[in-house]
């Protein structure tokens, strides 16, 4: 059952990736395709699954902005998170974003950082998957991954994921998810108080 689910999710991701290659534009496609993936609490992805490739792999890119180094910009349409660096550069991370109806824009600050965050599935998830515990203590396999950064007073976070195949897709309830290595990397680079700008599209 679980293997089948994982396989289906991976097959869906592979099909999407193949389609993107065929039609020449993962970014354009990402705007149109949402993944219908249920959470897999407790699932621990393999290192190979956690290894992103291509555009969503963590990389330094040219990035012209008036925002100060250290600022985070989230481009929800293109599924990228940028951490602004000096000299027109930025570190770019592939992310998963809110599915249709759960996307938002705004300016927030990181109000809290948490290692191995606990997970509380939102009510609509409990309705869909009533067998889920209403609270799962943090640890490997937790859907929030190894780190979380809370955005202002909102219910939204930048966090890890145990479903690396969802990076590049609109799947969440409004949070932004990174693979575990990336969230640990970002977590170590940014302090509480970091400015976070969430936009549908970031102008370079």
């Amino acid at each position: 059952m679980n293997v089948r689910k994982t396989f289906l999710a991976q097959a869906a991701a592979a099909a999407i990736a193949a389609s993107a290659a065929l039609f020449g534009g993962v970014f354009a496609l990402a705007e149109q395709v949402d993944m219908n993936v249920v959470d897999q609490p407790g699932y621990v992805p393999t290192p190979e699954e956690n290894q992103l490739s291509g555009a969503y792999e963590r990389q330094e890119v040219f990035f012209r902005t008036s925002e100060a180094p250290g600022t985070i910009l989230i481009d929800t349409n293109n599924r990228f998170l940028y951490l602004v660096q000096p000299n027109n550069r930025a570190l770019r991370y592939g992310i998963g974003v809110g599915r249709d109806g759960f996307q938002w824009q705004g300016v927030e600050k990181i109000s809290r950082k948490q290692e191995w965050p606990d997970w509380r599935p939102p009510p609509e998830m409990i309705e869909r998957q009533p067998y889920l515990p209403r609270f799962m203590a943090g640890g490997p396999g937790n859907p929030l991954g190894p780190r979380a950064m809370y955005l202002g007073k909102t219910i939204y976070r930048i966090h890890g994921t145990n479903q690396p195949q969802t990076i590049g897709h609109a799947v969440s309830s409004g949070c932004f998810r990174l693979v575990d290595d990336d969230i640990v990397d970002l977590y170590d680079r940014v302090p509480v108080g970091t400015k976070v700008i969430i936009k549908q599209a970031v102008q370079l």
Binding site: P41, G42, Y131, P133, R134, M136, A137
Partner: protein
């Protein structure tokens, strides 16, 4: 040739002796099916439901379960004497029964043998709480240990 016939005769005698010995004793009685030590009524009610993977998280998970009664896990009695609960990853309810295992553990799952992959092991049962872990290793790894705390219980 003579040696071969004699060896065969000894073997035949031995086999008959074993057969007779087997016939002489009563067949072992079928294992007694003991009633489960836990009544299904003990599981019926509204529960705060939480889970953990590391034993060090048990105490705070129990506390968190108590705080989840605004979205309780409701267990009703089934038509056939069992309890209505979800199997792993199943959104629809099934009637599950408590089954005593040959290992002395109490299992909760579909009617049938105890200890099958769809079952979970029930422990730490008292009027206000119980704990379960899945038998299936994959489910056990994903969901860890589940604790159920009765909603509305008086705090100690």
């Amino acid at each position: 040739m003579a040696i071969a016939i004699r060896t065969g005769a000894f073997a035949l005698v031995g086999a008959c002796a074993a057969l007779l010995a087997g016939c002489a004793s009563e067949p072992p009685p079928p294992p007694a099916v003991a009633a489960p030590a836990i009544s299904p009524d003990a599981l019926v009610g509204k529960w705060g439901f939480a889970a953990y993977h590391r034993d060090t998280d048990r105490a705070r998970t129990i506390k968190e379960a108590l705080g989840q009664c605004n979205k309780p896990y409701v267990i009703a009695k089934g038509a056939n004497g069992g309890v209505m609960m979800n199997l792993a990853d199943q959104a629809d309810l099934s009637e599950l029964v408590l089954k005593p295992g040959p290992d002395g553990k109490t299992y909760l799952g579909p009617p049938g043998d105890a200890g099958t992959a769809d079952d979970r092991i029930v422990t730490n049962v008292d009027p206000n709480s119980f704990t379960t872990t899945y038998v299936d290793p994959d489910n056990a790894a994903r969901y860890g240990t589940s604790v159920y705390e009765r909603c509305g219980q008086k705090k100690a």
